[in-house]
């Protein structure tokens, strides 16, 4: 028997949905940062970043959930433009609204003026230096891993390329992702 939605149960108990959203978003992004901190303390940079990237945006679990999303779309994801649309649909879940600012058969450009990470991951007692290294691994390398996951799920690994041109968490005014056709 399906369980009752835990959020609905919390609402029935008088919890404010808006307050819950803020708390849960903060808890999730805080988890990622603290996971990185533990990996960084335990391993050298190479192994820490490898494990981080393999458990987060580049994980098989993330691919599994993107596959579920793709299977539920009302269009087939089989080329550069539909991949761009599907990526934006996946980002909706974070929630990061991605603006598709260009979409042609040669190039798709996606931009995000908002991301909950870094806003909800940091705390006043954190060091900026620790945050910066983390955001490089999570926001920059992690996004590359995420798009590799997208390409793999859509069987477009050999057809598409990806360029990071900006990430809010590493000081850019917007996240900017560029998908191009791969030079063959």
């Amino acid at each position: 028997m399906a369980r009752k939605d835990v959020v609905a149960e919390l609402v029935n108990r008088g919890k404010d949905p808006k307050e819950m959203l803020v708390n849960f978003t903060g808890t999730f992004f805080r988890y990622l940062f603290l996971a990185w901190r533990v990996l960084e303390e335990e391993y050298d940079y190479g192994k820490a970043s490898e494990i981080y990237r393999k458990f987060s945006w580049g994980s098989p679990e993330k691919a599994q959930f993107f596959k579920l999303l793709v299977d539920g779309l009302d269009y087939e994801v089989n080329d550069i433009t539909t991949l761009g649309k599907a990526a934006a649909a996946d980002y909706d879940g974070f929630p990061i609204p991605l603006d598709i600012v260009e979409s042609t058969e040669e190039r798709v450009i996606l931009e995000a003026p908002f991301c909950a990470n870094p806003s909800f991951g940091g705390r006043p007692w954190d060091r900026d230096l620790d945050q910066y290294v983390y955001h490089h691994v999570d926001g920059w390398c992690g996004t590359v891993d995420l798009f590799k996951n997208y390409f793999k799920v859509a069987n477009l690994e050999n057809d598409l390329d990806f360029h990071m041109e900006g990430a809010l968490c590493t000081g850019y005014p917007k996240c900017r992702f560029v998908i191009t056709k791969k030079n063959k």
């Binding site: 919390l10 819950m20 959203l21 803020v22 708390n23 903060g26 335990e42 494990i51 987060s56 609204p97």
Partner: protein, 184 residues
């Protein structure tokens, strides 16, 4: 943790823009937490074995304890933590911020009994990854929770005066997780 109005408003704007509800997005954040805690554990297990995965899993959650105590004091509007009841309330606040259903079984100057009837993290991994009680990850979660309860008491500076016991665990097949803080 109080986030800035600007960040909170940006989050709600993003939720509106992607066309979901506040409640659904809150559930998505909890699911993301479950997914990445699960994959964090298994990537380390795959790389370095179960003992290391257990150790690192515990370290990640213990990293949250400092946040729990600072944020709990802030929510309760207190500067000092001097008794069992306050430690219990801080624990309740911490677990509710990650979506658990946390009831108070008993509270008085000498004893606090906390009862967790639902943990969305556990429920997500059961549904999404067919995790079963007594699997390595679930056994680890049971130990992690015990360490967090002890860690909260330690962070409050009350290890010498408060005893912690966890005699039931959701992750080991019990119907609830039960934590008892008792004055020594």
């Amino acid at each position: 943790m109080k986030f800035s109005d600007k960040d909170v408003n940006a989050l709600f704007d993003a939720v509106k823009k992607v066309g979901t509800s506040v409640e659904a997005q809150a559930g998505t954040e909890l699911a993301a937490l479950g997914m990445y805690d699960h994959s964090f554990y298994y990537r380390i297990l795959e790389a370095d074995g179960e003992d290391k995965a257990n150790e690192m899993h515990k370290k990640v959650w213990l990293k949250h304890v400092k946040d729990y105590v600072i944020e709990g004091k802030d929510d309760l509007k207190i500067d000092k933590i001097e008794d069992v009841q306050t430690v219990g309330l801080i624990t309740k606040i911490a677990f509710e911020k990650r979506g658990c259903i946390f009831d108070i079984g008993e509270i008085n100057p000498d004893i606090f009994v906390g009862i967790i009837t639902r943990d969305p993290l556990k429920e997500f991994v059961e549904d999404a990854f067919q995790e079963e009680i007594r699997n390595p990850y679930m056994r680890s979660l049971a130990r992690v929770m015990n360490s967090v309860f002890e860690g909260i008491v330690e962070e409050c500076g009350l290890s010498a005066s408060i005893e912690v016991t966890q005699d039931q665990s959701l992750y080991l097949g019990d119907s609830v997780t039960k934590v008892v803080y008792q004055s020594k």
